[in-house]
């Protein structure tokens, strides 16, 4: 919905021809991606598809042995290869991240209130007292019960769902333009997952920030994202508006992912559907379609010629020689 609302505005995040290599392995191969202001983008792929590495490079969190090429611009400012001090002006305030495991991403010996306030003190130079007041307000907004008491508690005194709410509150304190949520519900119970996704949805409606939701679960992404990007073996294989992606996937890999989402209605299945074969070796030479060995539709051409992303409808792109609609 929002991509066309601000046609002239600078994209919040502009990734161009990004490649990330670790020695022989290529984690990300020539990825280009835009996140418009206020847009919610779901990035889907299995483990090792490079979906996390793309955004780690934006946060400057890649390990030192990573070799990065391309460009990542946040509101027009280049983030790749700049000094940590420059990066610190953006990350944590305008560009924030919610991590997968709330159990381990809060510093264990610091009270919740101090950890939250620290973000504000660092970025907006407010006093500790003001920062703690703002932290309290934010905790109430993300619907943490007894928010006032939580400020004085340590992370281990909170449940997993509550800690993830604290992480969400922390990521929102400085009114960011973009929040990157890296599998924010994977480590949580299913019931809590739904609450956390609800919280993200409500906060987005209230604050209007953009969200990048990284997940391996189509179901999680479908409820929150305006647009879905599917990655496979370090490349984007398909992207398009959520409704269209769910109804008419073009890439056989997306279709296979969708088949793996268990349905509550319909005939009972003997086995959970799964995708045969394994994800390709990241050291593999960049030749042909990476999905070809697991693809039922693959032909000789798929093994030789690399399919490029091409538009199949106005905002729907897929990298496949034989898209499903053809």
């Amino acid at each position: 919905m929002s991509a066309n609302l601000h046609p002239t505005a600078l994209p919040t995040l502009a990734i161009d021809n990004l490649s990330v290599r670790f020695g022989e392995s290529a984690a990300v191969r020539d990825v280009s991606l835009r996140v418009e202001p206020g847009e919610s983008v779901g990035v889907v792929g299995e483990s090792g598809s490079g979906k996390t590495q793309v955004f780690m490079s934006a946060m400057g969190l890649l390990p030192p042995n990573a070799r990065v090429q391309g460009s990542v611009r946040f509101e027009g400012t280049e983030l790749l290869g700049v000094a940590p001090a420059v990066l610190n002006r953006v990350r944590g305030s305008k560009l924030t991240m919610i991590f997968q495991d709330p159990m381990t991403s809060l510093t264990p010996h610091l009270r919740i209130g101090i950890q939250l306030a620290e973000v504000l003190v660092t970025h907006s130079g407010s006093s500790w007292a003001d920062a703690e007041r703002a932290a309290l307000l934010m905790l109430e907004r993300v619907r943490i019960p007894e928010a006032k008491r939580r400020l004085r508690q340590y992370p281990h005194e909170l449940s997993g769902g509550m800690r993830q709410r604290v992480m969400i509150a922390m990521s929102l304190l400085c009114e960011p333009s973009l929040v990157i949520a890296d599998e924010p519900t994977t480590a949580l119970d299913v019931t809590v997952q739904a609450q956390i996704l609800d919280t993200l949805r409500i906060m987005r409606a209230e604050l209007g920030m953009g969200i990048v939701l990284i997940s391996h679960d189509m179901g999680v992404v479908a409820g929150l994202a305006d647009r879905i990007v599917v990655m496979y073996a370090g490349r984007i294989v398909e992207q398009g508006p959520t409704a269209e992606m769910l109804r008419r996937p073009e890439h056989p890999y997306t279709a296979a992912l969708l088949r793996c989402v268990p349905a509550l209605s319909g005939p009972r299945l003997e086995r959970m559907p799964s995708l045969p074969g394994q994800a390709p070796d990241p050291r593999r030479a960049d030749q042909g379609c990476a999905f070809a060995p697991r693809c039922a539709r693959a032909a000789e051409r798929c093994r030789v010629e690399m399919p490029q992303l091409r538009a199949l409808s106005r905002r729907h792109e897929a990298a496949c020689h034989f898209p499903l609609s053809a």
Binding site: P84, A85, N88, R91, S105, T107, P108, E118
Partner: protein, 276 residues
């Protein structure tokens, strides 16, 4: 404050801390209550057992000097050396190790090679050299032992920091835009306290023993002043004829070390937020 509260909930640690406080106070003001003096020779009571006669409550050594006063003075000396040296090794070692471990890379290599070079130097040579240059004084002794003690502390802290650096909350702190110094001070160092405090309480006995060794060589505490180490060395020679000369300072040292260890253990539990 909460940690102190938890420490007080641990009866063993509370009693041990009480005994340390009593020993320290005794070492500081105890000699005032006894008419004897560390250097006065009482020829009427040479190597006398503990008795009220001549106010020699713990007996006398083979020169007739009062053991009560000498033991308390020795405790003061040993505690002083132990605490100062471990404070130095704590301060320098933690800062050095945390920076090397967190920053890593070339700086880490450089800093740790420097530590290795220093620990390769023979300690005794180092102490003799300093004594010759600056003259003999207890303060120099504090400094020298502290100057060497931080090496192991720095290594331990660096190792621990290397593992903490990999934790997700450090990554989260980086992602929230905190600077390197802030991360080291607020997110890394407090997590080290457990290890650091246990190691520090373990070094105090080592330092006390090392001090007595230096004193024995004539480089540390000199007569008529005493330390627990010199008193024990003296007492060991008279063990068969006058066992109290060994037993009095020996028991004080044993009690002191035991209490320090119990307190260290209690502190580690009290400071560790996660274990409850």
């Amino acid at each position: 404050m909460k940690a102190l509260h938890r420490l007080r909930a641990n009866p063993g640690a509370t009693y041990a801390l009480g005994i340390i406080v009593i020993l320290t106070l005794g070492a500081l003001i105890g000699p005032l209550f006894n008419p004897n003096d560390i250097a006065t020779l009482d020829w009427a009571h040479v190597a006398a057992g503990p008795a009220l006669a001549g106010a020699h409550w713990f007996g006398t050594d083979r020169l007739g000097r009062d053991l009560f006063v000498r033991t308390l003075e020795g405790t003061r000396m040993s505690l002083g050396v132990g605490l100062t040296a471990s404070a130095i090794s704590l301060g320098v070692g933690v800062a050095y190790g945390a920076i090397a471990g967190y920053v890593g890379g070339r700086l880490d290599q450089l800093m740790m090679r420097f530590v290795e070079v220093l620990s390769g130097l023979p300690l005794i040579f180092f102490v003799i050299f300093l004594t010759v240059v600056f003259g003999r004084s207890p303060y120099l002794l504090f400094l020298t032992i502290g100057a060497v003690g931080w090496l192991t502390m720095a290594r331990i802290v660096r190792g621990q920091t290397l593992s903490i650096r990999q934790r997700e909350y450090i990554e989260a702190a980086i992602a929230s835009g905190a600077g390197t110094l802030r991360i080291i001070v607020k997110h890394v160092v407090p997590n080290l306290w457990g290890v650091v405090i246990v190691y520090a309480t373990l070094t105090i006995p080592q330092i006390i023993l090392f001090e007595s060794f230096l004193s024995f060589l004539g480089l540390g505490v000199q007569e008529p002043h005493s330390s627990l180490g010199t008193l024990i060395a003296e007492g060991a020679g008279e063990m068969e004829a006058a066992p109290w000369i060994l037993l009095v300072p020996g028991s004080v040292l044993a009690i002191l070390l035991l209490c320090l260890n119990i307190v260290g253990d209690g502190l580690r539990d009290a400071l560790d937020v996660k274990e409850r």
